[in-house]
């Protein structure tokens, strides 16, 4: 079942077309990477899902229920973590979670139990100071605790790792991995290593549309290979090869890279065999999300 389905979503800001017919579906219990450049419309899409932004056309369904702008009852299924979450700074983390719990109609004992459990999960269990003095990473972690409080079916995180140092990023990613069993995670990012580390599925947003969507393996397979690296023993051998095949590019003294068709590659191999050129290494370049991203967003 799809937790989230978006059909033909359009949104303009003045004359600027941000989303032009976006279609997206997020299956249950996936960690879904929503990838796009800065300003591609990731936050706009998320705000539309939450009913904070009026879309020009298109429909959004959360758990099969239609999302309406303004009074958004589907938000009861959603936990939302903005890119820079802001809390009432005069409260302690426990007080803040208490407010969130009461606002969402949970009973007192559930709130107490769940808050302590979640604060331990995000490593803020022993933090009794007010939020005022919290670092970005701490706020981000409190943000995750807050989103998980009422056991959401869909967790929406807007660039949760973009502003953090490597240690902070790792902590957030570990938490997101840990909650996979309980919920579905949709998280936007432009950090591709994060997507490769934790996501089960991903979609590329480009020019206001989904340019590509699938599991990480499927996406990788979309580009069978990025070419080959051929490393010869001597520099002269590399020179000979470059002379014979114009499309080869030198990367190091005796290493050349090849992008092209399979037939052409075998022609090079034949040339190598016929001329008895000593080769140290031939390696297929693994396709990465980065190369895919650059290709898609070109």
């Amino acid at each position: 079942m799809n937790v989230l389905a978006i059909q033909n979503l359009k949104k303009n800001f003045g004359s600027k077309e941000v989303l032009c017919g976006l279609d997206l579906s997020v299956p249950e219990h996936s960690i879904f990477g929503f990838i796009g450049k800065n300003g591609a419309g990731k936050t706009t899409t998320m705000k539309a899902i939450l009913g904070f932004l009026k879309s020009d056309s298109g429909e959004i369904y959360v758990m099969g229920e239609k999302v309406y702008f303004g009074q958004t009852s589907t938000n009861r299924y959603i936990g939302y973590l903005p890119d820079v979450p802001e809390f009432y700074s005069y409260m302690t983390p426990l007080e803040y979670l208490n407010l969130c719990g009461e606002v969402s109609g949970m009973n007192k004992s559930d709130i107490a139990m769940k808050s302590n459990e979640l604060l331990d999960l995000v490593g803020l269990g022993h933090e009794h100071h007010r939020i005022k003095g919290f670092s970005r990473g701490m706020k981000q972690r409190l943000g995750i605790a807050q989103t998980l409080l009422n056991c959401p079916k869909l967790l929406i995180c807007d660039e949760p790792t973009s502003a953090l140092d490597p240690a902070g990023r790792k902590e957030i990613l570990d938490i997101l991995l840990a909650v996979k069993e309980q919920t579905t995670v949709l998280f936007s990012t432009h950090i591709l290593s994060d997507v490769e580390r934790i996501c089960t599925e991903a979609a590329f947003l480009s020019d206001g549309k989904i340019a590509m969507q699938g599991t990480i393996a499927e996406l990788r397979n979309k580009r069978s290979s990025d070419g080959f690296i051929i490393e010869t023993v001597q520099k002269e051998a590399a020179d000979t090869l470059i002379k014979a095949f114009g499309e080869l590019q030198r990367t190091e003294q005796n290493a050349i890279v090849f992008h092209g068709s399979e037939e052409r590659f075998f022609a090079i191999m034949q040339y190598v065999a016929e001329n008895r050129i000593p080769v140290q290494r031939i390696e297929q370049i693994e396709p990465t999300l980065e190369s895919l991203f650059l290709e898609v967003t070109k």
Binding site: P82, Y88, N150
Partner: protein, 256 residues
């Protein structure tokens, strides 16, 4: 009901922890004491100045002060307290739009109209508390020094001025739902009051306007009857309800 109460609790703790309640109490106590104090000090000040004034040709006779002097001061000073109140609380909504703190509680399922109600109730209760605290202090001093009986329609006059304050607070709610920043909110409230003031220059129009409720002098000295204020009271009450009622659909459709 529970989410509303939870959000109201948050509003009160915010007002307390950010020091706004302390400032308000100090402000209203200060104004409460100042009214009788100024009245009490007037003869002494006149005496101090009499030499200088005689030199410049002004003859100072004995100045008579009573509870009336103090009540006149009360109605002169209370607009200042109301302006301070508006300035202190003009960002009560806009601060949350700007910082994005509202987004998180709204995604937790809080209805937007409950945000409006909680904040409106906080403002109304704080204004009511502060205003009547100021009144009680002035009333007690006046009763101790002089006789409050000299002022006609005292409670009525004080009550209609309180209602005027309620109208201004409902304007805070209305403009906060329409605008994004507190400077805009303050300017629009100022503009609305100024417009009402300009209209009230026409006597026939004045009886229908909230500005009528500020005009308590003639009530106190007994030259005006309370009946003359009924129209303004009814219209102001209706305006208050309309302001809050309009701000709810506006906030419901606000892009956050």
């Amino acid at each position: 009901m529970k989410p509303l109460l939870a959000f109201m609790k948050k509003e009160y703790s915010e007002a307390a922890r950010t020091g706004k309640i302390t400032i308000l109490i100090l402000l209203f106590v200060l104004f409460g004491i100042m009214n009788p104090a100024i009245a009490k000090l007037t003869p002494w000040m006149m005496e101090m100045l009499s030499d200088v004034m005689t030199e410049s040709g002004l003859l100072v006779t004995t100045v008579q002060v009573d509870a009336m002097t103090s009540w006149t001061q009360f109605f002169k000073n209370i607009p200042m307290a109301l302006i301070a109140f508006v300035l202190i609380f003009s960002d009560i909504f806009t601060k949350e739009y700007k910082s994005g703190t509202l987004l998180l509680v709204l995604t937790k399922g809080l209805s937007r109209y409950k945000v409006v109600l909680a904040k409106a109730l906080l403002l109304l209760s704080l204004w009511t508390f502060g205003y009547w605290l100021c009144f009680t202090i002035t009333y007690s001093y006046n009763a101790y020094f002089w006789d409050n009986g000299i002022a006609n329609n005292l409670f009525f006059s004080v009550a209609i001025w309180w209602l005027f304050g309620i109208w201004v607070i409902c304007l805070i709610v209305l403009f906060s739902s329409l605008l994004q920043n507190n400077t805009g909110v303050t300017l629009c409230i100022g503009g609305t009051v100024l417009l009402a003031y300009l209209l009230s220059i026409i006597p026939k129009v004045k009886v229908y306007l909230p500005m009528m409720l500020m005009d308590t002098n003639s009530l106190l000295i007994g030259t005006e009857k309370t009946n003359a204020y009924i129209k303004a009271i009814v219209i102001t009450t209706a305006l208050c309800i309309v302001c809050v009622a309009v701000s709810i659909p506006v906030i419901n459709k606000k892009q956050l």
